[in-house]
Symmetry: C2
Subunit: 438 residues, 2 copies
Amino acid sequence: MTIPLGPFAGRTIGELGRELRAGRTTAEELARASLDAVARLDPALNSFVGVDAGGALAAAREADRELAGGADRGPLHGIPVGVKDLVEVAGLPATMGSRHFTGYVPGADAACVTRLREAGAVIVGKTTTHEFAYGPTGDCSANGPSRNPWDPARMSGGSSGGSAAAVAAGLVPLAIGTDTGGSVRIPAALCGVAGFKPAYGAIPAGGVFPLARSFDHVGVLARTAGDCLLAYRPLSGREVGPARRPPRVAWLDPAPLHACDPEVTRVATEAAGAMGKVALPQEVADGLREVYVTVQSAEAADVHAERVARAPELFQPEVLDRLKGAMEVPAWRYVRAVARLPRLAEAAEALFEEHDVLALPTVPLTAPLLGLREVELGGRPVAVRAALLALTSPWNVLGFPALSVPAGAVAGLPVGLQLVCRPGDEDLLAAAAPGAEA
Amino acid sequence: MTIPLGPFAGRTIGELGRELRAGRTTAEELARASLDAVARLDPALNSFVGVDAGGALAAAREADRELAGGADRGPLHGIPVGVKDLVEVAGLPATMGSRHFTGYVPGADAACVTRLREAGAVIVGKTTTHEFAYGPTGDCSANGPSRNPWDPARMSGGSSGGSAAAVAAGLVPLAIGTDTGGSVRIPAALCGVAGFKPAYGAIPAGGVFPLARSFDHVGVLARTAGDCLLAYRPLSGREVGPARRPPRVAWLDPAPLHACDPEVTRVATEAAGAMGKVALPQEVADGLREVYVTVQSAEAADVHAERVARAPELFQPEVLDRLKGAMEVPAWRYVRAVARLPRLAEAAEALFEEHDVLALPTVPLTAPLLGLREVELGGRPVAVRAALLALTSPWNVLGFPALSVPAGAVAGLPVGLQLVCRPGDEDLLAAAAPGAEA
C-alpha cells in the first residue's frame, strides 16, 4: 500500500472482541481510534462522507457499560462500523451520493442499522457511495470519488467504494454495503478486503435507498470471510453453523461471462484450490447478462423517473446519461427478461449438481485508474463498467450468496476470489474461503 | 332479432341434457342440428371460422353410445360446443384470427379442450376471434368481422365475438372464449348472452394463444348464467355449490370508470336489484385502467415483437398500429404498474366489506356499427375501444370472477349486467344473476 494504514489494518473482529472482553481495550478506545484514523487518513481516500463522533462515543460508552455489567451482545459488541451512505441512520445526513439529497436527514434507522445496534455495534459514520449506487466504479458521487488505498489514483470500485476503502485502510474493521450487481464484492476485490452479498432478502432492505428492487441486496465488508460471517449472523438473524462437510469446490470458467486478465485468473485459480471444473453454457451466460441489464435498467428508471424529469441537473452527468438510457428500455423486453429467468436459474442450479461452491474471479481485472471507462483486456478494448460487473451480477439475478475474498495481487494490486453457493449452504461457502479453518 | 335463429335459441343446456337422457333426442341429432344451422345461418354472421363435421359427428355418436351404456359424463355430455379460434384443438386449423397462422394445424388439444372432451362435450368447430384477441370490437380478423345477430351491421364485440354471436343466434348452446380485458363479457353483453370470466387461473390456459399472460383468462359463453356455471365446473374442476346465503349485491357506480349511456345504466340498474351502493375512488379507477393498459401492452408486445419486426404486412393494419404503440411502452412504467397493483387490489377488496357481489353495466353502450371507432357518449366523443373495455378490464387486473348476463335492451339492442365477486364466492355470484333460483 502507498498510504499509511489505520488501527484496524491486519486485525479481525474476533481479535478485537477478545481484547475487549479481556479488558485490554474498550469500545470507547476503538471508536476513538477509528474517528482519529478517519480524521488523519481519510482526506487521501474520501471513504467517509461524514462521521458521528458524538453518537459513536456515546454508543461505545454504553457498550462498555453493558460489557462491564455482564451484558454481552455478541461478536459485534463494541465494534466500530461504517455504514454506506445509501443506508439511513437516524439523525445522520444520508446523501445517497447525490445532490438530490443534499440536506436530507432521515428520522429513523434502516432495518439493518437497527440490527447492528441491537448487536452492540458502534456506528462511526457514513461511507461514500457511487451516486444512488448506480455504478460499479465508485468515482461518480456528489461527495467525490472514493479512492483505492493501494493506489489513490485508482478506483475503489463501487458502488460501496467507501466501505471497501475504509476497511482496506484499517479505518474500521467492518462496514455495511449494498450490492445490486456486485456493489459489495467489486470494491472488496479491488481494495483487497472480503465482501459478502448474502442470499436475496437475507438482510432486510428496509430503509436502504433502492436501485433495482429485484436485485438489491444488503451486504457486509470486513477483512476476512470469517468476519463477514460474524456480521452476517446478527444482520440476517440466521445461524451459520460449522461446515457440515468439507465443501466441494468447482472452478467456474469465467470465459462465457467475460474476458479476464490471465494473471487475475491465475491468482484466483491458485487461491481457489478447486477440485472440479464447471462452465455456464454461453447462452445461459448471455441470458443472465441480458436479464441483469434489462431488469436493473427498468427498475432504476422507475425509481428515478421524476428526478430525471424535474431536476436532471442535480445528477452526475454519467449517471444522468445512464438513467436516460434506462428509461428507454421497452417494457416488452422487461417482460421477456422476467419470463426467461426460471430457465436460467435451472441451468445455474445444474452447476451445483456435484459441487457445493463455485469459485471464479470476482472481477476480471485489477483496479483501473479513476475515471477510466475503457481498458484493454485480452488484446481488445472493453468497457470498464461492463467488465467490473460481468462476474458478479449473475449472482444478483439468481439471488445466490456470493463472497469475495482476497486472493493475492497482480502488479501490487489486489485480486478477489469469488465463491458462490446456493441459499442454505453458507456454512460450506465460509469453509471454502482460503485460510478458513478446515 | 333481424336474422333467423338456430335450433339452440331459447334452450338451456339443462333442458338439452334432460331430453338426451329421456331419449327424446341424441347427441348426434344435436350435433347435426348445430352443423346444419351453421351452414344455413352463419354466412350472415361469420361466427364460425370452420366446422369439424366428421369429428363432431363421431364424438356425438360416441357420446350416445356411452349414455346408452350407462356412462354419463355429466351436464356437458353430448352438448355441442364452439371453441374460439385462439384455442388449439388437435387436427383443426387454428388461425388466431391472423394471416400469421394461415395453414397452422395444432397437433394437440388445449387443456380446456381436453376437459371439454372429458366432460363429453362435442366440439362443432372454431369461432371467429379478433386478430390475436387484441381488440374488443371483433371486427378486425383475417377471417372477417363476426356480426351481431341482433343487427348484422353492428359489432359482435370481441375478441370472442364469434363465440357470442354463435350462442346468440342459437347455433350452439355453449362456446369457449378468452378474456384478457373483457373479451368474453363484452361480446356476451353486445349479443345478449351470458358470459363468465372465472377467477384468474381457474380454467387452465395451456394451449391458448397468449395475449397478455398476467390477465389472460379462459371463459365460457352460453344463454344463461346457470349454463355458464354448468360448463365452468368441469372446465375448472372446481365445485360451485348452492348459494350459502342470499347474496348481498351492491351497485357499483360505473362513473369513475367511464361515462355510460344513461339508458344502458337504467336497464342494468333495474336488472341488478341491488341493495346497496358502492363506488371506486377515482384514483383507484384511474390506477386500474393505467395498470391494465400498461401491463397488457407490454405483455402483448412481448408475444408479438418478432412478428412485428419480420412480417408486419400480415397483421390487420389496426392491430399492427396498436402493437407498434405497445412496443414503445417503457419498462419503467411496467415496473411501476406492477408495483402499484397490491394497493389497488386492497382498495377494490374494500368494496366487498359489506357485500358479496358488485353489479354494474358490462359495457357502457350498446353494439356500435361495424368499424366504428368513435361514438358520442354523454355529449362527448369517446373512443369505442376504450369505452368497451372500461367496465370489464378492472376485473382482469384483479383476477376476480365476473359474469355478464342479459339485462334487457335499449332500442332493440341487448344490454349486459356485469356481476363481480371475489374468488371463492362463485356460488353467490351465480345466485345474484337475475332469474337465478333464490
